[in-house]
């Protein structure tokens, strides 16, 4: 198994560069990579024994791949495959597919690494590859959006690096476990880097603009898997070090409410989805021990939603209420919206039930409010008018079928969720959500200021978060 792991982790990079040498085979080479990850991810989920690897002696790279990694790897595999299928007929150059492979490989690396420096390297490669994908259209706006992303993430990673050094100074090792014995300032610095990279709470407010202004397939990739690279290490820390568990859970509740609070008022479909990414990441963090399954369902549903939203006739939800959608497109949109609202038969239901069960008492109110907010804002999609006639090409339906089909099949991971009380609760929540939507949200128009999304404020917020984190760890 260890040699398979090593080959699997190195292959995306080799294939990525070979694509540049064999541009005629670009799509075929690229699609092989997620297929391999799919097999590997499934194997890790069902293998009860975690695999720990230490390469090269004492201070080498350490890897650890277990069930939790398995879920994240599976998410990465399915989302990447869907995005590649979506791009199949488009005239994307070999450069695009090279970057996709490198991004996929470095995201995988995050999900199995077990020391701070391997994590740092993988996160930085993700930053570069994501920048190149965002800036792929080469328009000035896309370059600015990418540059802003790279700037924020690189500054956050400098803080992270400082934290990693402080951990080394106390424990003489970069292993994850050392974070437990490190001084509070080290933990605060590392958490700041990861929270920013993962788009969580106020440090994650760079995310809405980046994810909504990127091209459709890139948005799907960013929201589906790339942000989870910041969340995964936090989940690992929470599971590994009991003292950090309440902090991670608190950030889970905070970001779930913050994201939903913005999303309800949002009139732009892609921005609404991006704010929901901020909020859904909170559900992963709120219950770290079951976060893997939630990450899987969220990755599937959010990339499907971004792919669909990119094919709606308009981005403005007010305009969309006037234009009837074609029936198949509406059905796909409704299935995805129902899954994220936690409707039974779709795996969003199982994930929500599992998460709600693993909450500690003080989280319950906040997380239920966030779930209610989710149903309110997805009512905006479900109640769009139907009956239009435009038809979409096959390259759109294949990835959507893959993603929505996986959502149904993923139910199998937690079939015990289907009890009467569990089924009634989301139905009630959705009912209340729809009432609030028709009663209030549809009539009231309210625009939240976007000042805090300016670059200077995004950087400035880091200093505030740093002191907040420091006092939280100290307390």
């Amino acid at each position: 198994m260890s040699s398979i792991t090593l080959i699997w982790i190195a292959l995306p990079f080799f294939v990525g560069f070979s694509i540049y040498l064999l541009p005629k085979l670009d799509r075929w080479l690229a699609i092989a990579i997620p297929l391999l990850s799919f097999g590997y991810g499934l194997q890790r989920i069902f293998d009860p024994f975690p695999l720990d690897l230490a390469l090269l002696d004492n201070f080498g790279v350490t890897l650890s791949s277990d069930t939790l990694s398995g879920y994240f790897i599976l998410t990465n595999a399915i989302v990447t495959a869907a995005v590649l299928l979506y791009c199949w007929q488009s005239s994307k150059s070999a450069f695009f597919y090279t970057q996709m492979c490198i991004l996929h490989g470095s995201v995988n690396a995050v999900f199995i690494c077990a020391d701070l420096i391997s994590l740092y390297v993988a996160l930085e490669i993700i930053g570069v590859a994501a920048f190149l994908l965002i800036a792929y259209p080469r328009t000035d706006r896309s370059i600015w959006v990418g540059l802003r992303y790279l700037f924020v993430s690189n500054t956050a990673m400098l803080f992270y690096l400082l934290g990693a050094l402080l951990v080394y100074q106390t424990t003489h090792s970069f292993a994850f476990a050392g974070v437990g014995q490190a001084p509070p300032e080290a933990v605060a610095l590392i958490f700041l880097g990861l929270l920013t990279k993962g788009g969580i709470f106020v440090s994650g407010l760079w995310l809405p603009l980046t994810h909504s202004e990127s091209e459709t397939p890139v948005s799907a990739m960013l929201s589906g898997v790339v942000v989870k690279t910041g969340v995964f290490p936090l989940v690992r820390f929470a599971l590994l070090i009991p003292e950090l568990d309440p902090i991670v859970r608190l950030f889970g509740v905070g970001t779930a409410l913050l994201g939903v609070g913005y999303a309800i008022w949002e009139k732009d479909s892609k921005r609404m989805l991006a704010f929901h990414t901020v909020s859904q990441l909170g559900f992963i963090l709120a219950a770290p021990e079951v976060g893997g399954f939630y990450a899987l369902t969220h990755g599937l549903v959010k990339s499907a939603l971004f792919l669909i939203a990119g094919n709606l006739p308009s981005r403005n939800l007010k305009e969309l209420q006037q234009i009837p959608l074609s029936m198949p497109l509406w059905v796909a949109l409704a299935i995805a919206s129902f899954s994220i609202s936690g409707f039974p038969l779709l795996s969003g239901f199982g994930a929500k039930v599992l998460t709600m069960k693993a909450l500690v008492p003080w989280q319950v109110v906040g997380m239920n409010l966030a779930a209610l907010g989710t149903t309110i804002s997805f009512a905006k999609f479900i109640f769009l008018p139907r009956g239009g006639k435009e038809s979409l090409k096959s390259s759109f339906w294949l990835p959507i079928l893959l993603l929505l089909g996986s959502l149904v099949i993923a139910n199998g991971f937690y079939i015990d969720a289907y009890t009467l009380t569990n089924i009634v609760k989301p139905l009630v929540t959705i009912g209340i959500g729809w009432l609030v939507y028709w009663g209030i949200i549809r009539r009231v128009s309210f625009k939240l200021p976007r000042v805090i999304e300016q670059l200077e404020h995004l950087i400035g917020v880091m200093s505030l978060m740093l002191s907040l984190l420091f006092w939280m760890v100290l307390a």
Binding site: V121, G127, L147, F151, T155, L455, I459
Partner: protein, 113 residues
């Protein structure tokens, strides 16, 4: 805390303030470089806490070696840092055609919806 450590931390802080306070995009990127220089300096400082000699194990008598691990690690970080810096400057070059002043507030007005 030694004076050297205080100076290194001051470098990091100055870089960070530069990122926030400078209006020009090039200056912001340069400030980020100052900040990363500070971080690199801190790694070197921590490495040299136990000794200053180059860690090559062929000297006759035992001497106080510098810790090789942080130095090896920071080498990777330097390479990553400068490639990101280069990438950002290329992006800035492209942007400067339409916004020659490169003021962040101007650019944001142009490109955010």
């Amino acid at each position: 805390m030694s004076i050297l450590e205080a100076l290194v931390l001051a470098t990091i802080l100055f870089g960070f303030f530069g990122i926030i306070l400078k209006k020009n995009l090039i200056m912001k990127i340069l400030s980020m470089d100052v900040m990363s220089t500070g971080v690199i300096g801190y790694f070197v400082l921590v490495a040299s806490q136990r000794g200053l000699f180059t860690p090559i194990a062929n000297q006759k008598e035992a001497v106080a070696y510098a810790d090789p691990v942080p130095q090896a690690v920071i080498l990777t970080a330097i390479v990553i840092g400068f490639s990101i810096q280069a990438l950002m400057l290329v992006g800035v070059m492209k942007l400067s055609r339409d916004t020659p002043t490169l003021e962040v507030s101007e650019i944001e007005k142009h490109y955010t919806p």
